[in-house]
Subunit: 295 residues, 4 copies
Amino acid sequence: MKIGLVGLGKMGANMRERLRRAGIEVVGFDRNPEVTDVDSLADLVEALPQGERVVWVMVPSGPVTDGVITELAGLLAPGDAVIDGGNSYYQDDVPHAELLAAHGIGFLDAGVSGGVWGLENGYGLMVGGDAALVERVMPVFDALRPPGERVDGFVHAGTVGAGHYAKMVHNGIEYGLMQAYAEGYELLAAKDLVTDVHGTMRAWTQGTVVRSWLLELLVRALEEDPGLAAIDDWVEDSGEGRWTVDEAIDLAVPAPVISAALFARFASRQGESPAMKAVAALRQQFGGHAVKPAP
Amino acid sequence: MKIGLVGLGKMGANMRERLRRAGIEVVGFDRNPEVTDVDSLADLVEALPQGERVVWVMVPSGPVTDGVITELAGLLAPGDAVIDGGNSYYQDDVPHAELLAAHGIGFLDAGVSGGVWGLENGYGLMVGGDAALVERVMPVFDALRPPGERVDGFVHAGTVGAGHYAKMVHNGIEYGLMQAYAEGYELLAAKDLVTDVHGTMRAWTQGTVVRSWLLELLVRALEEDPGLAAIDDWVEDSGEGRWTVDEAIDLAVPAPVISAALFARFASRQGESPAMKAVAALRQQFGGHAVKPAP
Amino acid sequence: MKIGLVGLGKMGANMRERLRRAGIEVVGFDRNPEVTDVDSLADLVEALPQGERVVWVMVPSGPVTDGVITELAGLLAPGDAVIDGGNSYYQDDVPHAELLAAHGIGFLDAGVSGGVWGLENGYGLMVGGDAALVERVMPVFDALRPPGERVDGFVHAGTVGAGHYAKMVHNGIEYGLMQAYAEGYELLAAKDLVTDVHGTMRAWTQGTVVRSWLLELLVRALEEDPGLAAIDDWVEDSGEGRWTVDEAIDLAVPAPVISAALFARFASRQGESPAMKAVAALRQQFGGHAVKPAP
Amino acid sequence: MKIGLVGLGKMGANMRERLRRAGIEVVGFDRNPEVTDVDSLADLVEALPQGERVVWVMVPSGPVTDGVITELAGLLAPGDAVIDGGNSYYQDDVPHAELLAAHGIGFLDAGVSGGVWGLENGYGLMVGGDAALVERVMPVFDALRPPGERVDGFVHAGTVGAGHYAKMVHNGIEYGLMQAYAEGYELLAAKDLVTDVHGTMRAWTQGTVVRSWLLELLVRALEEDPGLAAIDDWVEDSGEGRWTVDEAIDLAVPAPVISAALFARFASRQGESPAMKAVAALRQQFGGHAVKPAP
């Protein structure tokens, strides 16, 4: 099998490598000339055997993905297929599918999890779209997912959009898990009684109820940098965490943990908090409480 | 009527003044020689007419209050009474009452709200203890509370401890209210569309559902310092907020808003957040995401 | 002055009455024949004096408001103006303004707060749009707002959309305030020590830091129904609370209190919680903990 | 090696079995005659070889543990040792250690995680106390923990109390993790777009960032009962979750996720929420909003 892969960043380049190791031929395109296999999207399409061509798109969600899909709609032929493996918002999937369908081109959305470890471990995959097309692309999915039973690491979650929806929720959960471990870490680190924080978390990686891959990564981070002295307490958030809470609100699903984790990230990036200035001002007003002058 | 008042800090000194304006004689004692009326607790007790002496204690909760009450137990006589008007933990009240009762001395706990404005406006009072003793001290309560109907501004909330319990919950609510206004303030301030943040909050002080005294204070703060430029986003917390959440946990009462307000204060005082360093470290581990090096 | 008023529900009918008491002539239209003054929007427009007609729209946000504004765009003439006083989403305001502007018709968005009490007390008003038009409609605003200083109860918050944005944030704050009082109420009610919950909250209405109009309403509710025995713990939410949290997410503003209050409402309406079923299932899986069978 | 084991409930009985499989002789005592090896604590002590006897206590925390340790203090001899493997509050450990030390008896506190799966998988162990004593008991720990490297599954976390402190924080994290998965589960289940909720979560168990043992258990629960139809949304909480939040408050560590998870459990057990009745009452008061009458 031979497929096209658009976007050879951290994730895309690793996926190309994993696919090639599994015997899938990959023609990769990236605007970065150092990593690309061809010079243009048109060249990529040209390089694929005619008939049921498959192009996997792995570029930033939003306008960049919109642009690539629009361009592919003009380059591919009826019977071909596009897979959006990026972190697109699930509500963008149906419009993309319709745009391509107007040219007779199929579409799947694929949530991909695993980070930089996916190259070696395989990626968790959540796919939305037509069952026949999913079946056709299965050799690619099988190459990307971890070895073992297909159902552990792969799901055809529903129609178009279901893959990205599942990935969005996956990331929302991820926010909550990370914050739970982080709060626990801080509670250990704040207590003199516990003289071996790293050892405690390492012990938790086997036998306990809280054992997980994220915990293993946190132990790894503590091994590399005990006390996390070299890292700033500034945490970015990507779209999926926000979309998950937006979705919770839309569905009237209480999401106190995922939203708390998201807000903690927002707060981590604030140089100063206007809200807490307001609280300090209120305390001063009613109680004559001392406040800190702004630095 | 003539009473003793121990503790002439910001609250105590104002209360002495308000009592005197109402015709109550007050003998005040404070370790600060500049504000005290007498040189010692013993002198204070001496200065009161014998028989049913009343001493109001207005000092920091915990060891200081413990010390004053223990000393008063030795100085006062059967039939006298002590009122703890400080922000004591409600579970300290019964031990204090028992200590005094062993000497035949009565005890009331009185939660006092109103801050520095109480001098002019009167204080909101929540009292716990024996009904007959409450009745005996009523002239003092009447002088301290706002004018108007007694039930608006005063309550005999229950037996010993009920006054401080009510004050504790009052302060927990206060945390939640302040944080709600603060979040709203930040949402206004963050939006270019709103060109008059101060005017908007000032408008809210009349006619709206959110009008309150705290809102008026926030408007006042914004008048004095538009943008709150001179104030740091560092917010202290006193015991009551913590006790309220502890109590919620003990009673299995969900308190998401009060606890969120408390945690926001904790976070406001952290130079850096160990938890958010852990989250940043995790993101770096699994995704190779860029992190900020610690400054 | 004479204006048109579309929508004579609970809010609209009261506003018509308040305007008339202030000497403003009002022609009201509602689909309900029992309350309407005219039979159609066209009749309403006919009934207004030509030249700088003003029509206040007070109907449900979303499609109903869209429909009324679209119809008015066809009925009104250049120089006329429409005011949307409903709870519209602030991002709908610019499209409405543009639609009307294409016909030479002006537009203001007006957030209106005060509930059923506005008839007697006056309404808090937050207005967005062109300053000259705001000035022209000022007699209407003056009639609606509480007596006293204009700036207490009225604000021209910014350009089109700013009024509804301010109202949205106002309602978000309202959610937080209500939840804070509610948590405090539950903490009082859960504690046997406090024998007078209603009296405690009533006392808080004067002198204390937490005094507010909402608190007075809660005391009123407790007077009518001690223990709130007749009321279900089922709480609706309107759009503004959701939009406020959506906006917080969009602006990366931490909003733990407002979101907690929103989620508490979601949870209050769930017959059963799928999330808590999942937690119960997990406990059973790892610990063999007893679970309750579903009823 | 031969040890005593007090408490043969779900955890204790499994631990006895695992120890025996590893060649450790165990004399077990339980008040339940069907599972006990001996008739009394005294008999248990008698049955152990004199000199450096070790008794592992695995009974409910609080008064039951207090009682057993007090009784053992009278039965054991200098040089013997007691290990509290139950879920005791960490602040109880030093008093227990001191009580035993007065009799020359050593003490270790051991947090034990793993639930009913520990029999086969081994238990995660967190131990506090004297290093020499930890070393002496190591064969027992080695038998209980999972096979493999000792540091994965075992930690000597610090002095007396550190083991239970670590276990407490472990359980606090566990609350947060469970709630995060549960919120994600509800978001999947609430969305028609996702047609295979179980398959999605099963896919997540390999390759993804959120893979964990708890996730595997949730998948297992969904296999046994798709839709979790047979389980009630009623979730118990044990002491550790509450203690973790109490500790966070004491240390001024923000714990929004762990506390949200705890409060969700509280709410799950309320037949009706007094707080939400109060919010409903407030909405009715200011807006004339419809409320549901209590059933």
